[in-house]
């Protein structure tokens, strides 16, 4: 089962973990990305995520489906991404996968977060004391 969400509300981590569990899957790997208090050494005060919603949801589902093709033993996949304004420590993204054995849970979860960062149409603006930057926009 694949569950995908893009939300401007705080991500409910326990709910995501509940959703991913399966009686046939003994291993659950979860990646949680939170807002750090600095970026390349510069203090961050807050973040804003903007999304192209329909494409982001479509691409997230595609990445999860690809993971299920690559690891057919994958039971459940949950991916929830936050958008809007986030403060330090807020959860920006959660990826959770369940598999019968643990090695595949690590590999599939890492594949999903790595691919998500390459293809999912979400943009991040970091705000500092003295300015702001669209992350990764310029070489």
């Amino acid at each position: 089962m694949i569950t995908i969400d893009l939300t401007d509300q705080p991500i409910d981590v326990p709910a995501a973990l509940q959703l991913v569990q399966a009686d046939g899957a003994g291993a659950v790997n979860t990646f949680i990305g939170t807002v750090r208090n600095k970026s390349t050494g510069r203090p961050v005060v807050r973040l804003e995520y903007e999304a192209y919603d329909s494409m982001a949801l479509h691409q997230l589902r595609k990445v999860a489906t690809q993971a299920q093709e690559l690891w057919p033993m994958l039971e459940n996949v949950v991916v929830v991404h936050r958008k809007g304004t986030l403060q330090i420590g807020d959860v920006a993204v959660i990826v959770a996968v369940s598999t019968p054995h643990r090695a595949e849970s690590f590999a599939a979860c890492q594949y999903i977060i790595d691919t998500l960062k390459q293809v999912v149409t979400i943009w991040k603006k970091e705000f500092y004391e003295d300015g702001d930057v669209w992350v990764a926009a310029h070489p």
Partner: protein, 80 residues
């Protein structure tokens, strides 16, 4: 034909609006649209990457655009 192009993130800031209407010859390939936009908004040419999405999929440079496509300009993504 008339193309409506959705803009996001820094591309929206550079162009100064969230949807851009462009008049283009029928069956224009993606590559030509990008060239046209970079000529009109040179700051787009300075981005690390600039892709075009058609109907929620990344388009290739040679893909032809149609008036009823959902088109978007995709500056470097930074989710996660």
């Amino acid at each position: 034909m008339n193309l409506k192009i959705a803009l996001f993130g820094i591309a929206k800031e550079i162009v100064g609006q969230s949807v851009l209407e462009v008049n283009a010859p029928n069956d224009q390939p993606v590559q030509q649209l990008l060239e046209q936009l970079r000529a009109q908004y040179p700051a787009l040419g300075q981005l690390s990457s600039l892709a075009v999405a058609v109907n929620n999929e990344y388009a290739t440079d040679t893909q032809l655009l149609h008036e009823r496509d959902e088109i978007a300009l995709i500056p470097p993504v930074a989710g996660g």
